[in-house]
């Protein structure tokens, strides 16, 4: 590698010229990812089932980075017609689709005997079928532009098990395996597929599920003594979305502060 770039002033972001679709982007980690992507030069399709929050995220991005940087699209990731519409809108509005972040997810803490078939099916539909449909429908759009990067947000719950949330563990295990096959199957199309495994992240999803009193256990049992900030997950997603990770596919990026290392 030559040194000539050393003094170049960086004017473009790490996602300059790229278009990204992010699911679950109305709040929490997804919203942080959307804002970070826009800051790095991407145009962003902000997708969520939460219309109001999603629109607000898109508006904020547009006021920071100029009109047309972000567009909100209602997307229930478990519904195939919604995906067809969202991918179509991305291509129509921005002319291409380079990055999909399968970030949307739901969490339920029940043990196995407490888990109903309805809960099980919902976990699988959102956390596993959602990314499956995202990959499936991103492929034709990415093939048209010669490749792309798909980033799935799983969880350390796909690596080690805890006492709660058996259906959640299963659904995250499903996407972990699916992503590796997707990587193998889509490498020939230059579509990279990688997965991020966050540990406990300070987000509305976790706060709503466990309540403030329960959250402290994520701090006390943790090597770093704290939960992750959403930005710390977003930085990993950004790396995998960008061309800096051009030789990475089928990889697993664990962002858990050492949780699974012990």
């Amino acid at each position: 590698m030559a040194c000539m770039e050393l003094n170049q002033v960086k004017t473009k972001g790490r996602l300059a010229g790229k278009t990204a679709l992010i699911t679950g982007a109305a709040r929490g980690q997804g919203a942080v990812e959307a804002a970070m992507f826009a800051r790095e030069g991407a145009r962003v399709l902000v997708c969520d089932v939460l219309d109001e929050g999603g629109q607000a995220v898109a508006d904020a991005i547009n006021s920071d980075h100029g009109q047309g940087t972000a567009v909100f699209c209602r997307l229930d990731v478990s519904r195939e017609p919604d995906w067809v519409q969202a991918i179509g809108l991305a291509s129509e509005t921005f002319g291409s689709l380079n990055v999909v972040v399968n970030n949307a997810g739901v969490l339920s803490p029940e043990t196995i005997t407490e888990t109903t078939v309805e809960t099980w099916d919902r976990m699988v539909a959102v956390n596993a079928a959602g990314p499956f449909l995202g990959i499936k429908h991103a492929v034709p759009a990415m093939r048209r532009v010669g490749g792309g990067s798909i980033v799935n947000v799983a969880s350390v719950s796909a690596i080690t098990a805890g006492k709660l949330g058996a259906a959640y563990h299963a659904s995250k295990g499903a996407i972990r395996s699916l992503a590796r096959s997707a990587a193998v199957q889509l490498a020939g199309d230059s579509i990279r597929v990688n997965t991020v495994f966050p540990g406990p992240v300070d987000t509305p999803m976790l706060r709503e599920t466990y309540g403030p009193s329960h959250l402290s256990r994520f701090d006390t049992q943790h090597p770093m003594g704290r939960m992750a900030m959403p930005e710390e997950i977003a930085h990993g997603v950004l790396f995998l979305a960008s061309d800096e990770s051009s030789y990475m596919t089928g990889s697993e990026l664990v962002i858990d502060g050492g949780w699974t290392a012990q």
Binding site: D121, V124, F132, A161, S177, L178
Partner: protein, 249 residues
């Protein structure tokens, strides 16, 4: 006799792998309830076990239905007593790459391979509590460990089983109920007949197996037996791989 006096429920017991497991278990002294959708084959296998001096009972079982599981476990308990061993063996295999997979296919495969394992585990827990302990063996696949070029929803379902097994192991460890997953590679059964007969894919898959051959159902059954029996009494939440070295490379 590694399973002497134990009550075992095996799903998908009319199929190649399940039938071999059922026969081996009966030989090792277990009383076996064979669950399957295919009544004729299931009854035949149960009959063969009985004819050779074992104890077996067939019960129709659609693993995707909670009510079927409740009935099957009740039938096992009524006939043989509380259940000590559950083998979640039923599964469906399809080679469809991800971007060609329909939602109907996805739902089907996830329902049988993943929800089926969840429901079997959920419904057997009360019976194992009555038995005082238990061992659940979930049949995943190397597809739950590594990616491949020919499967879509199947990999996802086997990844779900892999992780669900660990969660179940942690949930019930204190009650003496062990849960492990088995990850067979390419096993010479009807399931992969179509894949291995493909003039292009068959040799390709074979070339990736370090031992240079497919496994047999008996080789998988012996590992399942180890996990089902008290020989593995300190093993829970583990992944046992029987794949001729496929996933080690």
């Amino acid at each position: 006799m590694k399973l002497k006096g134990k009550v075992a429920v095996i799903s998908g017991a009319a199929g190649a792998m399940g039938a071999v497991e059922a026969k081996l278990f009966a030989q090792e002294g277990a009383k076996v309830l064979l669950g399957d959708l295919v009544e004729e084959d299931g009854n035949r296998v149960a009959g063969e076990i009985e004819a050779s001096g074992g104890q077996a009972l067939f019960h129709r079982l659609d693993v995707t239905k909670e009510s079927d599981w409740v009935a099957a476990i009740a039938a096992a308990e009524e006939r043989f007593g509380p259940v000590d061993v559950l083998i979640n063996n039923a599964g469906v295999y399809r080679t469809t790459v991800i971007d060609q997979t329909t939602v109907a296919d996805w739902d089907d495969i996830m329902a049988i391979n993943a929800r089926g394992v969840f429901l079997g585990t959920k419904c057997v827990i009360p019976s194992m509590r009555r038995a005082g302990a238990g061992s659940i063996v979930n049949i995943s696949s190397t597809a739950g460990l590594v990616g491949n070029a020919v499967e879509g929803a199947y990999t996802a379902s086997k990844g779900a089983v892999r992780m669900f097994s660990k969660a179940a192991a942690i949930h019930y460890a204190a009650e003496g109920i062990r849960v492990n997953s088995v990850h067979p590679g390419v096993i010479d059964t009807k399931m992969v007949e179509h894949l291995m007969a493909d003039p292009e894919l068959g040799p390709l898959v074979m070339s990736k197996i370090p031992m240079g051959r497919m496994g047999t159902a008996a080789e998988v059954a012996k590992m399942v037996l180890f996990l089902a029996s008290d020989d593995s009494s300190y093993t829970t939440g583990s992944e046992l791989v029987v794949d001729g070295g496929y996933s080690a490379q």
